[in-house]
Symmetry: C2
Subunit: 377 residues, 2 copies
Amino acid sequence: MTALARLELTASGATSAITAGPDALVAQTASLADWVGGGTLFIVSAQPIRALHDARLDPLRRAIASNGGRCVELDVPDGEPAKDDVGEASRLWNAMLAAGGRRDSRLLTFGGGTVGDLGGFVAGCFLRGIAYAQVPTTLLAQVDAAIGGKTGVDLAGGKNTVGLFHQPVQVVADTHVLTTLDRDLLRAGLVEAIKMAYLLDLDLLARIERDLDLLLAGDVAALAPVVQGAAKAKVDVVLQDEREGNLRRVLNFGHTLGHAIEADLGYADLSHGDAVAWGLRFALRLSRRRALPRADADRLFDLIDRLGVPNLPPSVRAPTAVDRLLDLMQNDKKATLRGLVWVLAKMAGTHEMADDVAPDAVRAELAAFLAEPTARA
Amino acid sequence: MTALARLELTASGATSAITAGPDALVAQTASLADWVGGGTLFIVSAQPIRALHDARLDPLRRAIASNGGRCVELDVPDGEPAKDDVGEASRLWNAMLAAGGRRDSRLLTFGGGTVGDLGGFVAGCFLRGIAYAQVPTTLLAQVDAAIGGKTGVDLAGGKNTVGLFHQPVQVVADTHVLTTLDRDLLRAGLVEAIKMAYLLDLDLLARIERDLDLLLAGDVAALAPVVQGAAKAKVDVVLQDEREGNLRRVLNFGHTLGHAIEADLGYADLSHGDAVAWGLRFALRLSRRRALPRADADRLFDLIDRLGVPNLPPSVRAPTAVDRLLDLMQNDKKATLRGLVWVLAKMAGTHEMADDVAPDAVRAELAAFLAEPTARA
């Protein structure tokens, strides 16, 4: 069995201790209980994850109770609706205050990216910030969303448009919880792991290429080292650039068009991961116009082909979609006055930030891509 | 005429440049316009302050326009209702996004403490944080609220229970805007200045004692050095302790009971400043039970006597009020598991943090105080 990986991420003076692998939650129970002490732990989760895995928190609950502390359980709706505007956050803040929450209270998120993003935001603003821990339960959250301190909720005008950077004290990625994920959720996480592996860690990429069928089948022994490798790649990036001044943008590989596709579809019909998979194909095409060798591009095209990503819905492939997608990309919150910066591959394992891709070239490539999305450049 | 005071406050890696005195806004127009560059400045204000002073921002608007930038004007309701829960913040975030706000957009608050607290919170969470400046227009905001990076809104369960630390890039305290304040608003600011002067700066205390009648009459020549002195005292405290680990609690002098009185009255009938004035008298009584010499206590009692603070309403003086106020103090968000820490005076100019005041002693002193609030100990 894979040993636990232990990583540290220090940013803005705060340190996140990240533990990833089989039984990570068992291993961290004592330190989480110590951290809560005799105080209050707010556990933020959602019914579907409670139904599957809630008992995994029982040892922690017992340890806290035996320290004289207490747990207050808070549920949020399942999935992205929990992040609609700030209503759910407000409901949680009021509940925490009514339950006697104080500045030395703690919060723990137990769920996927939505629970983590919302719970982290709630912790970051409650009484001007209380400490929290992330216990991510999806592959996407374990390899990406739970690490790095980004928290937030959505406005009608855009995803994650309200939030803050608030580093969790601990991230506990217990790979045993991944056994209950379906293939769609596994693929969603793998896309983000592949995104990082392709630009940042070719050993991890080779492992994913080798084990892809096991990974898509939810084999925990295969997943654990991928979670650990992707977590390490993400930590290394955030360590160097917490606030997305520059390097952290590398994590946006495939996301510029991916976000636009999601927005154009009204966040329906295609998951975030699948939209990013299409965005990665487009980024490869733009990269091929520059330095990326064909063999290096093919390596990622091949891997994405094997993922079984659903087709792009017809509405985003209509000729009129080009203008809509270009507009959406221009309005991405990562855009600045100076325009879009594309994260592209120079070769497998090497990225470039390109702020000099001519708008006409983007338009032409996008039209060609939408006409034949599975074509390679 | 008083020269401008320029102070710098660095906390959490961010630096606030504070400019205080007559025509501070004129002096800072060029640097504020540079900061906005060719981008967007969201100006958050309220109708009453716009009616009195909006034209003072016109030179800044012109400078921004001539740089190719633009201003987007956003109004919030006047006074504390703007801070009720997160509805107003949500409205502003949606408006900012609809107006094309980006990560390199800026925000400027132009108003009293409410506008600053709400605007700072909105800036701190918009797209995970944009830079902002505070242009406080009340004495309370100039001497205290605008400095130090505390932002937030209220929940039904408590004031400033949702928010974050977000240091403004600039605080511009132009004392000319103080000419339109009425005596109640001047007194509210003076109470906070006196609180700091008594524990932190005896020269400032002597100045306030000497000039009190001019200060209460809104004499700008008298007010300017008091704003500067109090701002400097606050900066010195926050420099040493941004997050209220310890020293920043000194600013809570008079606030433990003051907050409880406000809450018990449902934030009606007595202003924050007046409640704090009564809280200061109570803190002096507790201090007298310990080390504070009578002459030192009398100095602050005398000054508060001269302020003309309205009487404590009968409802908070009823015998049943003692328990309610004790409960409210226990639930203050600054309380921790270890209980209340009182900020007391050892002598004028010297404070102590007392975590060993016996609950029975507090109860007895509170009962005596409520029976005869103007009595000295």
